[in-house]
């Protein structure tokens, strides 16, 4: 009884904070919402991702804390923070960027307190009661023998840095970049000779090591499925490996090689009994790893990059970069597929044990968090900004809390109301709304009806008249067109040997204008004949009492097809005492011919006079 009382009190305190912070507008929204807005700190300044947030009962007293590995600025100030209620109670500095945080029960000691494992660089940093407890480095990878020999020679000063760099560069051609040590890659980036010498000197007495980088971390229960049973740590690395590490002795229990770099690993089962691991990789494939074979097998091939992968019972749910949200069986068969309205930023599982259902939370680019139960959208949570990280679980003494870190660095904590109902069916059915819309077609007017009468009575005559006029019009169009062609009065040239197009835009407000001539050679490109248009010049025809143009003659370079050439011409309106405006004609002429190839009439805007006030 007492315990229940305390729980209620906690809710009361949290919700009282909420009342202080919200405006009327949010109150309005809150009435329809399934969530209580417990805490919102717009200036929390977190920079983190979903993998770097976890809840853990650090002191074993049932009061769950929020553990956030903060990336700081992305370069320095990396920390791991522990939050209780609304405040940070502990903060430890990290040496490198964290890639994942998880809590692990490592022993059977009472009270049951878990350790916090932070994956960072090539090591796992284990904290117990938030004190540094152990650092485990992943096993080193073998160094290329050629590379080792080269460095050995350099250390014994048999090889000067310049030759070393050349030799390493040569080696790079025959091996993939990832097979080199970090020292080699650093060394090859040094440009200065003195610095290179210094670098070799500095590293002379240090052993050559090839380390890997952890990409993801998760846990697997060892032999029992209880919440506080001992777990092993599962780690995916940049060198396409997945390790299972014993959390008591910190020894690798098993390691797998897969075809691509794992970014998300999801585990089901117990290590000692049987388990399966699903590793979502950068190539958009999901590989399945089993206890009894070290071989990985492609299980699902997806069309786009994987943003989030969650497992609900026996189904895998994916949020992809192309805004699709889909569900597959563990055998790789698609069950359903949905389109999301915006890009996905993060996902999380909502495991509601009291009501006995699991849902997937999807954080979208339009500041929404959508809750999907199976394929049905059951709730939409509106946040103040784009969610960067989501985590659902037990916080404090409240079982169903959602923590969201926003792109602005804000921290938002929400509590699911006990009255919230997430029904297991879709809300909208029936034909799409657009079917009901009426088209805006005007009514037939009396005039129109009268006119049809006229048409019926004089149909033949009207048709003959029209055909007669049409023939005449065709003739006159063709004549005018021919005249234009003969005098090359068009801005397009039909000469098959030199198809050109000229257009011009005028910029500026006067009295000085810039005319931008765009000239294109519209010949189709071909391999054996470059089809260059050469020996062309541009001339201008204009009234010299109104304008002066510089340059008067524009010599064009050889024009290659498929490129639009732009030439700027400076035009000065010299008639400043009155509003002047005229047409300027630009002509492209080939040297040695009399007739212009193309002509463009450009009507100039009215020039602003020089204002004398």
């Amino acid at each position: 009884m007492v315990a229940i009382y305390i729980t209620l009190l906690q809710v009361f305190i949290l919700s009282s904070i909420y009342i202080k912070m919200t405006s009327e507008d949010q109150d309005e929204k809150e009435k329809h919402s399934n969530w209580l807005n417990a805490h919102y700190d717009p200036v929390a300044g977190f920079y983190t991702f979903s993998t770097c947030i976890t809840f853990a009962d650090l002191n074993g007293d049932g009061d769950h804390k929020l553990v956030i590995a903060d990336l700081g600025t992305g370069l320095y100030n990396m920390t791991i923070k522990v939050l209780k209620g609304t405040s940070i109670i502990q903060e430890n500095t990290l040496l490198d960027l964290p890639t994942g945080v998880t809590s692990v029960y490592m022993d059977l000691a009472e009270p049951r307190t878990p350790g916090v494992v932070v994956a960072s660089g090539s090591g796992l940093f284990v904290y117990k009661s938030m004190r540094p407890y152990y650092k485990y480095n992943l096993p080193l990878l073998p160094v290329l023998p050629e590379e080792a020999v080269l460095w050995d020679q350099a250390n014994n000063e048999n090889l000067d840095p310049l030759t070393l760099a050349e030799a390493l560069d040569g080696l790079k051609k025959s091996h993939p970049t990832s097979s080199f040590t970090a020292r080699t890659s650093h060394f090859l980036q040094i440009e200065n000779d003195a610095d290179a010498r210094q670098f070799v000197d500095d590293h002379k007495h240090k052993p050559l090591k090839r380390e890997t980088v952890i990409t993801c971390v998760t846990t697997i229960k060892k032999s029992m499925a209880e919440d506080d049973a001992i777990s092993c740590i599962v780690v995916g690395t940049e060198h396409k490996q997945v390790y299972i590490i014993d959390s008591e002795a910190f020894t690798p229990l098993q390691d797998y090689e897969i075809a691509s770099v794992p970014v998300i690993v999801n585990v089901s089962g117990l290590f000692d009994v049987d388990f399966r691991m699903f590793a979502a990789c950068r190539d958009g494939c999901v590989y399945v790893l089993k206890k009894d074979s070290l071989q990985s097998r492609v299980c699902i091939e997806l069309d786009s990059s994987i943003v989030g992968m969650e497992r609900i019972h026996k189904h895998l749910i994916f949020a992809l970069a192309d805004k699709t949200f889909s569900c597959y069986t563990t055998r790789g068969k698609q069950i359903w597929n949905l389109q999301l309205p915006a890009d996905v930023l993060c996902t999380a599982v909502m495991d509601h044990r009291a009501k006995g259902f699991k849902a997937v939370l999807v954080g979208l680019d339009n500041s929404e968090v959508r809750v999907y139960r199976e394929k049905n959208l059951v709730d939409i949570i509106k946040l103040n900004d784009r969610p960067q990280a989501l985590c659902f679980g037990r916080y404090g003494r409240e079982d169903s809390t959602l923590v969201a870190v926003l792109a602005s660095g804000a921290l938002q904590v929400m509590i699911l109301k006990r009255t919230a109902e997430y029904a297991d069916h879709s809300s909208h059915k029936g034909p799409p709304m657009s079917q009901k819309m009426k088209l805006n077609i005007p009514k037939k007017t009396q005039l129109f009806v009268d006119q049809t009468v006229r048409e019926r009575e004089n149909g033949t005559k009207m048709f003959q008249n029209f055909q007669h006029d049409l023939q005449l019009m065709r003739l006159s169009v063709a004549q005018t067109y021919l005249k234009g062609l003969q005098s090359s009065m068009t801005p397009l040239s039909d000469d098959p040997s030199m198809p050109l197009k000229l257009s011009a835009t005028v910029r500026g407000i006067g009295p000085v204008f810039q005319m931008l001539l765009t000239i294109e050679n519209t010949a189709a490109i071909s391999l054996n004949d470059p089809k260059l248009a050469t020996g062309l010049i541009v001339l201008f025809k204009y009234s010299d009492t109104i304008y002066s143009i510089k340059p008067l003659v524009l010599e064009l370079p050889a024009l290659a097809p498929e490129i639009s050439y732009k030439f700027a011409v400076r035009i000065h309106c010299i008639a400043s005492d009155r509003p002047a405006q005229d047409t300027i004609t630009a002509l492209i002429v080939k040297r040695g011919t009399k007739k212009p190839l193309v002509t463009a009439n450009i009507s100039m805007p009215v020039s602003e006079g020089v204002i004398v006030v």
Partner: protein, 501 residues
């Protein structure tokens, strides 16, 4: 010998201002203190350069962009001239009603401001290609008025008639009969708003702030100087004493400059109770609705105009254009025919009738109208006429003729973007992809605010596999016409393509 003063007066009444000025000068040479002759000369000079303050207003680039007077920077749609009503909430769709080179729906009647929309940014305003049709003044407050002023100075080589620097405004302000003439002379002829304001301010003081005319003039000076709030106060005060049409219209213009079109409409409607069926007020209301792209209201009010003034060209032309673009060309013909009956005889009219006839199936009339339009058109108009004939040719299925017409349109006006776009489509049909690409490109370049060339360019590049160009073009298309379904579909398709592995 007739009295020279009488002759001068008679000349003035017969609008022979030049001769009137000469006569007055002769009188003044004999007697420099003849106040009547002095006043008449000033009036005649004023009349020579007088422009109606109410009709003449076009906002320049500077006023439009460096606008710090409008109340709301991000007004709600339907309450501002800056963000005209888009198609989704009742405005015309660019797919049905074409837009001008400045991105405004075509209006039925050309008057200051209809050809140019409001540019969003300074960059956009300066980058928008300037042709004779779309060029916009940099600022209306200085350039044009100064030019008018200097022009009048040039015609008097022996110096100005009145030397403003040496005037004692206090003396003149006390004499209401001279002061009014002098004010108009300074304001209209000399264009010296600051001195005019000084005179008006002193005169309104001398009249114990009881003369509405002076208040109106003070307001006009403030208005011209861009001090809209002060102008509003003066106009309102003048209105309180005497309700005058001029004052109402000017106050409405102040509201428009403050980007408060609805308030201007309310003011006009209120004044309509005082001046029932006044055409200028009704036209002013219609223009505001037109500026806000509210086509239905525009038509409604133009119809009101026609009830009281059956020969108002602006109203007839606007209503006709609206009928044409809402698929009732047969009514549009009637209206245009009325314009012809009224004695108008120009290219636009014949072109419009020809087009209406074609779409209303009066085939026998169509080409006759176009023939006449071609015969009397100037170069720039000719481009539009050829462009419309090309539509006719497409309608009867003669692609060859359409092609020739479009080529002629482009030859007549090198900046005819629509023609470039259609020409590109025809080139594409003929199989000349390179040229089609070049033409689409120049069409899009010439009028970045029309969506068609961008969309066409995007589809063409997409089919050629140039997805990057396609993407950048379709983005522009969506920006120009946010409700265009095909563009949006293409965008979705491209995004899918980019997202897939």
């Amino acid at each position: 010998m007739m009295d020279p003063m009488f002759i001068a007066l008679s000349k003035y009444r017969r609008r022979k201002y030049g001769e009137c000025v000469e006569n007055c000068t002769q009188i003044l040479d004999k007697n420099p203190y003849d106040q009547a002759a002095w006043a008449l000369k000033a009036k005649a000079l004023t009349q020579q350069v007088y422009i109606d303050e109410i009709e003449s207003e076009e906002q320049g680039i500077a006023e439009m962009l460096m606008d710090d007077t409008s109340i709301a920077q991000f007004a709600r749609p339907g309450t501002s001239l800056k963000q005209p009503t888009s198609a989704s909430i009742g405005g015309p769709s660019p797919a049905v009603r074409p837009v001008s080179q400045a991105g405004r729906p075509l209006s039925g009647f050309v008057r200051p401001g209809t050809q140019s929309g409001r540019p969003g940014t300074m960059e956009q305003a300066l980058k928008t290609p300037r042709t004779a049709q779309t060029a916009r003044l940099v600022t209306s407050a200085s350039g044009r008025f100064v030019r008018l002023g200097t022009a009048s100075m040039l015609s008097h080589p022996d110096g100005p008639f009145i030397n403003l620097q040496r005037l004692n405004y206090g003396k003149y302000a006390a004499k209401p009969n001279l002061a009014k003439v002098l004010f108009e002379y300074i304001f209209h002829h000399e264009n010296d708003v600051r001195n005019a304001l000084e005179l008006a301010a002193q005169a309104t003081g001398c009249a114990q702030y009881k003369d509405w005319w002076w208040k109106l003039q003070v307001g006009k000076c403030y208005h011209r100087l861009g001090m809209f709030r002060e102008a509003e106060r003066q106009y309102k005060s003048a209105l309180k004493q005497q309700v005058m049409l001029d004052t109402v219209l000017l106050l409405g213009k102040v509201y428009l400059r403050l980007d408060q079109p609805l308030q201007a409409v309310a003011l006009y409607k209120q004044s309509l109770e005082k001046f029932p069926n006044d055409t200028t007020l009704l036209v002013a209301i219609s223009r505001i609705y037109d500026g806000m792209n509210m086509i239905e209201d525009t038509t409604k009010w133009y119809k009101e105009v026609l009830i009281s003034d059956g020969v108002n060209v602006e109203a007839i032309a606007s209503i006709a254009a609206n009928y044409f673009y809402t698929d009732q060309p047969e009514i549009a013909i009637r209206l245009y025919r009325r314009l012809i009956q009224m004695g108008l005889y120009n290219v636009e009219l014949f072109n419009n009738i020809g087009l209406c006839c074609f779409y209303a199936q009066h085939y026998d009339m169509t080409l006759k109208c176009f023939e006449r339009a071609v015969a009397i058109a100037t170069d720039e108009q000719l481009a539009d006429v050829w462009y419309n004939i090309s539509h006719l040719a497409l309608g009867v299925g003669d692609n060859n003729m359409a092609y020739q017409c479009l080529r002629l349109a482009v030859a007549a006006d090198n900046g005819h973007t629509e023609a470039y776009n259609n020409l590109a489509v025809l080139e594409l049909r003929r199989g000349d992809v390179e040229r089609a690409k070049a033409l689409f490109r120049s069409s899009a370049e010439l009028n970045p605010l029309a969506y068609e060339p961008h969309y066409n360019q995007a589809t063409l590049s997409e089919s050629l596999g140039d997805l990057q160009t396609s993407y950048s073009s379709v983005l522009k298309s969506v920006e120009a016409f946010p409700d265009h379904v095909d563009s949006k579909n293409l965008l979705v398709k491209l995004k899918e393509h980019f997202a897939s592995l």
